[in-house]
Symmetry: C2
Subunit: 347 residues, 2 copies
């Protein structure tokens, strides 16, 4: 399978993907029969380039590193905005890694809708379109016979969605539970291990680039809520929105509560839950005490965890350790392979 691909956004994740694609090009060809050509890159602040003959990915990475525009790599006039870029760019597959908008998923939701609508595959690391438009976008992809994959939206590149969709065939998922947000887990771990108070732990997380300048999306539980909704909607047939979760974040967690938990032989973790309850799926995000013997307690720093309870396997736990843009990029690459394997056709 040959794929002409384009990047929507060229920040940490899509640049890590570009490097991974260069490194894995021969593996993709040898093991999966995939060849690819990059025909477009759209960025927020470095311009947009479309080149149907293919543009050099190494050049593009260097230009962005040097702070230069990508526009000269394009073969025609520069599209005025990303929607126009999507419409004009002759890509078979768009890698969507623009920032997540936690309020309504826009403008990425429109990007994905436009790309699928014109019959292109979409592989996305962006949680917004999935959390706010999964049913619509999945139906559109089916109708157009294309793939819409988004493994990297939960637990970075770990196959958290893949295990639920592909790895547990004929099983009925009763409950999904986990630690889905790296930033708050890092904060809680620093409070536990180093006796920092909440504010100091947030500062540390910001200093090493884990937390955003405005950390409220993570701290108040909204990132966790968005991921919980994705799991509930995709793996449990729910049709929820992040606001249905009414998340409780870690904003009220004091050092005293962390120390009291430790004195009781427990730890505080921000637990995401999606559970079947009388025909519906109940979701919640809130700090909970977990016993030291629970794998949830062993998740420290930026690592994440997901636990599936099913009617066939009683309980299966998956932990991703030490995520980063490179592991998120791997999820995008895995999606590309699953696309080439036709996994969307059977779904």
């Amino acid at each position: 399978m040959h794929l002409d691909v384009a990047f929507l956004g060229f920040g940490n994740v899509n640049r890590a993907l570009a490097q991974l694609l260069l490194r894995k090009a021969s593996t993709l060809q040898t093991d999966y029969g995939i060849t690819f050509n990059v025909v477009g890159i759209a960025t927020h602040s470095r311009g947009r380039a479309i080149n149907p003959a293919g543009l050099n990915l190494g050049d593009a990475l260097e230009r962005v590193t040097r702070g230069e525009s990508l526009q000269p790599l394009g073969s025609g006039t520069e599209p005025p905005d990303t929607l126009e870029f999507i419409t004009r760019c002759p890509a078979d597959l768009f890698f969507e890694a623009t920032p997540t908008n936690p309020r309504d998923g826009q403008p990425a939701l429109s990007y994905v809708r436009t790309a699928l609508g014109k019959g292109a595959h979409v592989v996305s690391a962006n949680k917004g379109p999935v959390a706010f438009g999964y049913r619509e976008l999945a139906a559109l992809a089916r109708e157009r016979g294309v793939g819409f994959f988004f493994e990297s939206t939960v637990l970075d590149g770990a196959p958290a969605l893949g295990i639920g969709r592909e790895g547990l065939p004929a099983a009925h998922i009763r409950r999904i539970r986990g630690v889905f947000n790296s930033t708050t887990n890092y904060i809680l771990t620093r409070m536990e291990a180093d006796g920092l108070d909440l504010e100091a732990a947030i500062c540390e997380a910001q200093a090493i680039g884990i937390a955003e300048t405005d950390p409220t999306l993570d701290v108040d539980g909204w990132d966790s809520a968005i991921k919980t909704v994705i799991m509930a909607n995709v793996l449990m047939g729910a049709d929820l929105r992040p606001s249905d979760v009414e998340p409780v974040g870690v904003g009220e967690i004091t050092l005293e509560r962390v120390r009291q938990a430790q004195a009781d032989g427990k730890r505080i973790r921000l637990i995401c839950l999606a559970e079947r309850d009388q025909g519906a799926v109940r979701v919640s995000v809130r700090p909970e005490l977990v016993s030291l013997d629970d794998p949830l307690a062993s998740v420290s720093g930026t690592s994440s965890l997901i636990e599936y309870e099913t009617d066939t396997l009683h309980r299966l736990t998956v932990i991703e350790h030490d995520p980063g843009p490179d592991t998120t990029a791997y999820g995008l690459l895995a999606d590309m392979v699953n696309l080439a394997r036709g996994r969307h056709l059977a779904a």
Copy 2:
């Protein structure tokens, strides 16, 4: 896809599978387009029955529960042995769940070879054929265009092999590490938690049916060695045999060592390892000290754990909690679905 299926062995695992097949028949048909008919069952002490028109699985389960022979469910003369049963039985798929022979994998290795050789699919929970004949049997299956699946051989029904084969596309597995043997983990946990000495912990494991009357296969590390070899050969391209592992079991673990580990903030676990080392794959099984913060320490009782280190995902941990014949049976069912999905054709 319609499959005429037969059971080799009708002990705990294949009986649990029979019950699961009855329970999941409509899910298999609705979600995966699979219908099936049972055309044969071969047992060690309850006779052999072949019936090309289909035999009633509920009747078979009841007969075995009552201690009666299955032979009356057959439509012709009873095959004199299992090899003859395989030759005569018109099954598309054999579920192989006879006991594992840790010395050479026989006679199950011959059963699998015979079934694949006549062009039938094989789904096996038996570690012997895979540990002693993986390359030969996989090549034979490819040649005949049939599937040879064995998810249940490691971590029971959890997708430990599936994640490595399907869930981490284009990744290079550098190291696999884990706790693969339930019996020894249960023994170590009882020593830790209840202060039992080794002998008493083994007796308890026997009393609740986890350990065999002769527990040496587990205690001396051979079951772990067999599973380690399966992972190394299937997921890392090695061509090892269990004897290459030279396992160290838990036979020398004293209560004093367990207590010393606890005093040092650690736990003893029987660690299975397969690791790339200068072009080869190095394997070992031995008791090791693990820190309480390591997910390996959180695996207690009969639960098992596997950890993958790859060049793309740094580290991924999978834990199966509370396995039993029903979870092993689920691995067989998942293999059947993967067969119907044509997963063997892409491998």
